[in-house]
Symmetry: C2
Subunit: 339 residues, 2 copies
């Protein structure tokens, strides 16, 4: 009989996550109780935020406990149901965790499953543009970034899950969009496929020079996914009343020393500018609006999505670390089973 | 005949300002041209921002040039006038510079003189609560801090010019107000004379412990005048949707190495909080509203002001450095002449 392979958190990582921070468990599938469903996981979303969930301490969501199945979003198919809410064969998105099967109450809060339509968009899109990264990009940019037509919008991690959508949405709003990404391939993709006006390759070129060249009118909105030196450099180029959206700081998540604070934060004072943090869950009651807007643009070919799909649940530890090594090209997805 | 003693900028300081960064000049008083006035300076405002004006580089205002009279706000009395705008005997406030006499066109932009009423409030109040520090406190707190009744407001430099007014205005709005200041005397003053709910003595006590004790509901608004370690510590105690007003960073102005960025800035993300810079000049068209509100509260005894008055223009260099040594107690004012 089939079993449920799981990745559980074995230890709180110090710096980069090591194989020994994970414990693999392989459990039998238990029978369903009334009101429960079983979801066969097809794709898992691998996100930078997962690194934060592995740390102890107060955050916007409780840490994953030692011994607990690692938290992750995923899409799957209902393979057994004792709930009227879902039928066998339904495709769903929710908090599956890093495992082959999720089993629990249909209305479980941490699962928070909802039906998705595999005929409208590829399943992986529901983990990307029509999922959390897309919602983060859409609401973070609009609500906190408040871009106006003609503004210059800079986004780091431009080829990543959130960055690709931030830039494309900003283009729809009539902004000049400049990405920052690592390597020529990512930069070419962002400009040629996604339609950004320019992209700065931070691995090979000077971000400072790139901003001077590509943002001749300064920076009105900076959507920051990376933190560190890049945030500090952008701070030197912001305009009066600029808005900096702090979405993440992937360059700092595996630090074993203190996070590098932005030394140039007094540019906020000089420019009467703002730096604000965002968390996607705050917009949950309006996700449907973001999905509608993005799905509409996707249908018209105005917004594209790119996923980087790694095969096999057993490769989870190595796949997750790709994020922190800048190795993924597009939204990183782990394929767990064949749809 | 009387001459005009002036302090001109001789060199751009590195770290703390040295005597050799100043050049004293003693010039004869020139005759007035048509449209000009001569202001005898009575009191000069000494402000942390002056240190920034001495540095080269883009800021919210052009740097003082080498050889130029040091920029400063002051109050004085018109002693000669060839302008219908001001009569001899008028008391005025404006950009006098660090000198005994200001001479120039009555409508000069850098002077920007306006009449003040010495019977309504002591002249030094026009450099404090009813002047730039008061306007900075009033508009910075209200517009950027957006305090609501019941919020906990923390302000650093609590006994200083801006801090004292921030705290007192926040009390008028029904907030819990906790100051941070250096030394027992300043803390006692802030609590006993100004009516703050508590004050943390950063020189003798742990700011972290003080915040835990005095802000049991967390921090909703932090008005920051100091930067550095104190900003970083407050960041660990902010609430969801907290507002941090960046007004200054006096702990960092004399750094010879890079400014210390706030290592805990990711608390903005976790708490969906905001950090925003303010510059008082942005509110210039509404100063009269701030003056009216503060003068009203002062008249009712609800807002008090404290100035620390140092005597003698010749003592300007030492007096200015008192700000950065935390030696002033209240708004620092240099008395240049007897009213």
């Amino acid at each position: 009989m089939e079993t449920n392979l799981q990745f559980r958190l074995a230890a709180r990582p110090v710096g980069m996550v090591k194989d020994s921070d994970w414990q693999q468990a392989d459990e039998p599938l238990r029978p369903l109780a009334d009101g429960e469903i079983r979801v066969k996981v097809l794709y898992l979303s691998l996100d930078p935020a997962m690194r934060g969930w592995m740390n102890e301490g107060k955050s916007y969501i409780r840490p994953v406990a030692i011994g607990e199945v690692m938290r992750a979003g995923g899409v799957g198919v209902v393979v057994a149901s004792k709930s009227p809410k879902f039928a066998v064969g339904d495709h769903v998105s929710g908090g599956t965790g890093v495992q082959r099967y999720w089993t629990g109450a249909a209305d479980d809060k941490s699962g928070a499953f909802y039906k998705i339509d595999p005929t409208l968009a590829p399943l992986t899109t529901y983990l990307n543009t029509l999922g959390m990264p897309g919602m983060t990009a859409y609401f973070g940019l609009l609500e906190s970034g408040q871009p106006k037509a003609g503004d210059t919008v800079v986004v780091s991690g431009a080829a990543g899950a959130v960055g690709q959508t931030v830039g494309q949405v900003a283009k729809q709003l009539g902004c000049r969009v400049v990405g920052i990404a690592g390597g020529k391939d990512k930069c070419d993709f962002v400009v040629n496929q996604l339609g950004f006006d320019a992209c700065i390759d931070y691995k090979n070129d000077s971000v400072k020079d790139g901003l001077k060249q590509h943002c001749p009118q300064g920076v009105d909105v900076y959507f920051d996914n990376v933190g560190g030196e890049i945030l500090d450099t952008v701070l030197t180029r912001i305009n009066l009343k600029a808005r900096i959206v702090i979405c993440g700081a992937i360059s700092q998540y595996n630090n074993t020393t203190a996070v590098k604070g932005p030394s140039n934060y007094l540019s906020l004072l000089v420019n009467r500018a703002r730096m604000e943090g965002i968390v996607v869950f705050d917009y949950a009651d309006r996700y449907h609006l973001g999905v509608a807007a993005l799905a509409g643009w996707m249908k018209e070919g105005k917004v594209k999505s790119k996923e980087d799909i790694v095969q096999g649940l057993e490769n989870f530890p190595q796949a997750l670390n790709m994020l922190f090594e800048g190795k993924n090209f597009g939204k990183l997805v782990l394929q767990v089973a064949t749809p």
